[in-house]
Symmetry: C2
Subunit: 146 residues, 2 copies
DNA sequence: ATCTCTGCAAAGCTTTTGCATAATA
DNA sequence: TATTATGCAAAAGCTTTGCAGAGAT
C-alpha cells in the first residue's frame, strides 16, 4: 500500500494531511460533509471550504477523483487509485474490482469506433452477500417493509 | 426505433411531448438548460421548473436516466435505452456501445464477490477519430494553443 | 519575512417547491 | 367539472469565492 504525499509546491498543513488520511482510510468515495464529520470525530476542526479547496487541488493534481453516484446529487471524492467498484445498493458498501475486466475490451472499442481511449469509469450496482442475507431474514416477519 | 409514449396516468401536454422529442433526437445526454434552449429554438416556450419536474417524473417511470459526467457538476438526462457510451473529450460527442462487453463479466463478478448484480454504468473517455484528425492538424501552426 | 493556507461569511448555481392560473381528460 | 400541469418567484442545498488573519518555509 503506497503512502500518499502532498504534492510538490503545496505546504504541509494539519488539515491537508488529515484530509488525505481520511481518504486513505475509506474505501467508499466520500461526500465533502462526510470528511468534515470524520475529522470532527478525530478532534480535528476544519471548515468545509478548506475541504473543498483541498479536494479541488488534489483532483487537479490527479490524486483524487470527483464523481457523482447514480441517484445522488452530491459529489463524492475518492483516491484515484480506487476506481472500479461494486456498490451495494443497501449498505452503500463499495468493493474494489481488482482486475478490471474492461481492459480486455479497449482494443475492441478502438477497432470498432476508432476512438483513442483515455480512461474509463465503471460503476456496478448490486446487493452484497451480507445485505442479501439480512434482506432474506427481514422478509418473513412483516408484509410491508418499506 | 421504438417510439416513446407518455406514461399511463399522466396528461399529454405540449411541453411533455416536446421534452421527450428532444431527448429522442439527441444521443448525448443533456443538461436541463440544453433542453430549455433546444425547445426555445423550436419556438416552444417552457419554464425550467417544468423541465425539471418532467425529467424527474420520467426518471421515476424508468424512461430517463439522470447522471453526472466526469468533471461536470450539472446533471445530464438521457433516455434509459442509451446507457453505455464512449465520450469524446474534445467535442463531447457520444457514441453508443451497442453490445456492452460488460455483460459477459457479470457471472465472474457474482462468483468472485458474491454480489447480486442489479445494474451498471460505464463511461469511457477518449478522442473520436474526427477530433483526432483535427488535433493533429492544429498542432503544427502555433505552439500555444489553449 | 514571504507566500500560502484557513475560516468565516457572503455569493453563486443548479435544482426544488408553493401557489395561483391554465390546460387536459 | 375535476384533476393534473405549468409558470413564476422564492427557497433550498451544495459548492465557490473574497478577504483578513494564521501558519508554513
Amino acid at each position: 500500500m503506497k503512502k500518499l504525499a502532498i504534492p510538490q509546491g503545496y505546504k504541509t498543513t494539519k488539515q491537508r494531511k488529515a484530509i488525505l488520511e481520511v481518504l486513505e482510510e475509506n474505501i467508499t468515495p466520500m461526500h465533502a460533509e462526510d470528511i468534515y464529520f470524520k475529522l470532527k470525530e478525530k478532534g480535528i476542526d476544519i471548515s468545509l471550504s478548506t475541504i473543498y479547496r483541498n479536494l479541488d487541488m488534489l483532483q487537479k493534481q490527479g490524486l483524487v477523483i470527483k464523481a457523482y453516484m447514480l441517484n445522488e446529487d452530491k459529489a463524492r471524492f475518492g483516491l484515484s487509485s480506487k476506481k472500479n467498484y461494486l456498490i451495494c445498493q443497501e449498505c452503500k458498501k463499495i468493493v474494489i474490482i481488482d482486475n478490471c475486466p474492461f481492459e480486455k475490451f479497449k482494443e475492441e472499442l478502438i477497432e470498432v469506433h476508432g476512438f483513442d481511449i483515455l480512461g474509463h469509469s465503471i460503476e456496478v450496482y448490486g446487493i452484497c452477500p451480507e445485505c442479501k442475507e439480512k434482506i432474506k431474514n427481514d422478509e418473513k416477519p412483516s408484509q410491508e417493509n418499506k
